[in-house]
Symmetry: C2
Subunit: 501 residues, 2 copies
């Protein structure tokens, strides 16, 4: 069986790759399991070296990688070039976070008259299966946040080749394997499986210890169910997204609606709307020209509405129809004609009363589609927000100066999202220490986890406490001389780097 | 419908309590939901005050509580009195951990030329359903670790009355509600539901945000499945346990086997073996008198083999039979005769080859039952340990001086447990900063979580990141003046308490 790579701009085939058998998958997992101890035993600084090496290889191969990615994704050279740079920066960041050492959460309680000596440290889980996204072939793909944080935390990674960019997946796999081996990482630290059945076999394999996924709710929840039916259930970190609500306050609409409308269109059409952080539902005050302003801004926009795959293009078009069947009306709809796979961009409007449990209006419509909803007062807005599903991110747009509704609107959204923005569109996701990219169910399968930012490493470790062990039996992170120079907590008190216990 | 309370020493009824209807459960959850914002908004220091108040009420009512607990559990006055004291200590500890503030993981990244200002803090999930254990009516019951850590983290708690001690559950509920209200906690901060159907309705209620459970694998996994089938899936923290393996090295057996045998019997018969940390499978070197020594130590022990419930007594007796059907032979078996519910204490021996996937020998047998297995060399031991399920805890017993096998044996067990002891029996679980009470699946449903120790609070929060919010819109934990005096991470650097950003 083979997988065909297509050019979304033409619908023509680029080539094919071979799927892997169940036997091949077993071999890959065996090799990863064989590498587990060595990857775990490497110091965080060594792993940092490996990740910086993969980043350097990515940067060095940018032109070829971008050319191949454009053939398979049609995301454009400018965006893809920036994405390679971001992907490299992320890998370096996760390596640096590992080396800083807080992710180990080393904690030491000396023995007392009533309690034994206890010392706790996070240990890597073992081989992690990574299912990357179609919409970010570099930053959230094979060598994206999941690989970076899993390898930084000390886990071998087995990535699934993405069917929307199988040739690029192959090439990224060769690049990463080579760079890791050259940097001294054990053989088996990284590998790839190819094909749908191979992916399912990977998740079912008892040698796999955790699952990281970025993509649609249907696929993410299906994998989560498979993981929950294993003999040894493993944690599933599926980042799936929902509508990402935005609220425009009355004062904001009154003072700067044009600017907000332009920003809204730029955000929801970015990358043809194929962002998990796309604003999908925008609440605007009734009795203003807000709905019209957003429609007009779409009409003025210059758009490239090529979609990643034929399935996504169809799904976006059907999504617009479904929203109309659910009571939304079209404010503005733009279509472009290409040989390949395109979908419309649309501003729809729905009445607030239509936002009821089970309505399609409460679900994500992947693509350049936004639903605008008018609210008359904060109480009505609160009731509607209460019915929303959990989302990755939400935004509130306020007046430049004092805005009487700002606090209430921010407070409403905060219980529904993992990240809350004020006067920023939600699309961009910075990789820093304070980032949270994971929201309440069903936007994410594990809402207290994040797939971007320093805390992404926490997904791939579990704590082990050592009781009454002699100094020489303890792992380096817990030895009294603090050989890895970690920040640690000793007898309940945080100690900065450089302290010994 | 009513639930009958029984005296395990006589099998006679103590009285009955009324089960609650689905409608009653909904009311309880409504009240908890109503209290959520106020509980979350209280400062950690305020919540510390509430927990210290409940602890004080427990201590003040010790004699009456212990008398009632003894009538329903037969665990004995000495043990129960100590357990009330421990339960009070735990509540104070979780309050102190909250007040220290690290559990909030406040993290601030100032804006840069390429990234927005981001600030991340853990927020309470909302109402937590607590299903306590039968075997620790105070420390792991209604007012145990789960209530303490959930309330400390800012979540209202709804506890299920335990059918093995329904009268005590009622009394504890009144005590906690009264103490919390007196200390200024909002109405609805704590409540109780009564009955099997009420418990299921509680887990299914969309107002419940997380589930904490301590008990059997069958019940824990059933609740985990129900939670996973909700419209909004919630995290389930089920602490269930399995066999808790112990390894005695060859040098240890050669130099101090009598002492180890005495310790083993004391540990596996403690509380009639009704501990989730009971050592269930003990590996001893072949060609020594270790098996016999453990058998003889049981014969010498003075035992009180009354079990908590009729069902547990029957299950322990059947468990011994099942182990024999699975190839184990009886080394020593002790029975006591009481009017009420008793079960045998037993030392069994099984061949290492019998430890195969699916064998009953690999599963927990709740009660004063241990299976001893001889190993000929470390390679054979390693192969057997590899087939074990995940456990809460394991122990290695070594020679007093240099022991050539110590490191290998510790390393073998560490991948199978959440806590690893050297020369300590596993039964005791100290509540300190470095504790981990949660092991690999299936001993715990969420192996990276702990139900005892400072990190227990982490189960009941999720991070929210605020992007580009003005100072006055941020929660206190993230304001630049650091009004709660928290340890925080600012621009990637840990700042001790007292620092401002």
């Amino acid at each position: 069986m083979t997988i065909t790579s297509y050019n979304p701009r033409t619908g023509q085939a680029n080539g094919t790759v071979q799927e892997m058998s169940a036997h091949d998958v077993r071999d890959v997992v065996e090799r990863a399991s064989g590498a587990s101890s060595a990857v775990a035993a490497a110091s965080p600084r060594q792993r940092r070296g490996w990740l910086h090496a993969v980043a350097a290889a990515l940067v060095a191969n940018t032109p070829g990688m971008v050319k191949l990615a454009e053939l398979e994704t049609a995301l454009g050279y400018t965006r893809l070039t920036a994405e390679v740079s971001r992907a490299a920066g992320q890998l370096r960041f996760y390596g640096d976070v590992a080396a800083e050492g807080s992710y180990l959460a080393a904690t030491i309680d000396h023995p007392t008259s009533t309690t034994p000596g206890l010392a706790r440290v996070n240990q890597p889980l073992g081989p992690v299966a990574v299912f990357g996204a179609s919409n970010f072939p570099f930053a959230f793909g094979m060598l994206g946040n999941d690989l970076g944080s899993a390898l930084a935390a000390g886990c071998p990674v087995i990535a699934k080749s993405h069917p929307a960019h199988p040739l690029l997946s192959d090439r990224l796999a060769v690049l990463a394997r080579t760079a890791l081996l050259s940097a001294g990482a054990p053989k088996g630290s990284f590998d790839i499986v190819v094909g749908y059945d191979a992916g399912v076999a990977l998740v079912r394999d008892e040698g796999v210890a955790a699952l990281a996924f970025t993509g649609s709710q249907a696929a993410g929840q299906a994998l989560w169910r498979i993981a929950n039916e294993r003999r040894t259930v493993i944690p599933t970190y599926a980042e799936m997204s929902t509508v990402n609500p935005v609220v425009v306050t009355r004062a904001a609409a009154a003072t700067r609606m044009e600017e907000i409308a332009e920003g809204c269109v730029a955000s929801f059409t970015l990358g043809s709307g194929q962002f998990c952080t796309k604003p999908g539902l925008v609440f605007v005050p009734a009795g203003t020209a807000a709905v019209d302003a957003i429609g007009k801004a779409l009409r003025r926009a210059s758009l490239d509405l090529v979609m990643l795959t034929e399935a996504i293009a169809k799904s976006t078009a059907h999504g617009v129809e479904d929203l109309m069947f659910s009571g939304a009306r079209v404010v503005e709809l733009v279509e472009v004609s290409v040989e390949g796979w395109s979908a419309p961009a649309a501003v729809l409007e729905a009445g607030i009363a239509a936002l009821q449990d089970g309505s399609r209006l409460l679900e994500e419509c992947f693509g350049a589609v936004v639903v605008v909803v008018e609210y008359t007062d904060i109480a009505k807005l609160a009731a509607a927000v209460d019915r929303l599903q959990g989302s990755l991110v939400g935004s509130v747009f306020t007046a430049d100066e004092d805005d009487p509704d700002a606090t209430a609107c921010l407070s409403l959204l905060s219980s529904k999202v993992g990240r809350l923005c004020a006067n920023d569109w939600p699309t961009g996701v910075a990789y820093t220490w304070a980032q949270q990219h994971g929201g309440p169910w069903p936007s994410t399968s594990a809402p207290s986890a994040t797939s971007v930012g320093a805390a992404a490493l926490d997904r791939f470790v579990r704590p082990v406490t050592y009781q009454s062990l002699r100094e020489e039996w303890l792992p380096p992170a817990l030895q009294s001389t603090n050989p890895w120079n970690l920040p640690r907590r000793v007898n309940g008190v945080l100690q900065p780097r450089g302290a010994t216990s």
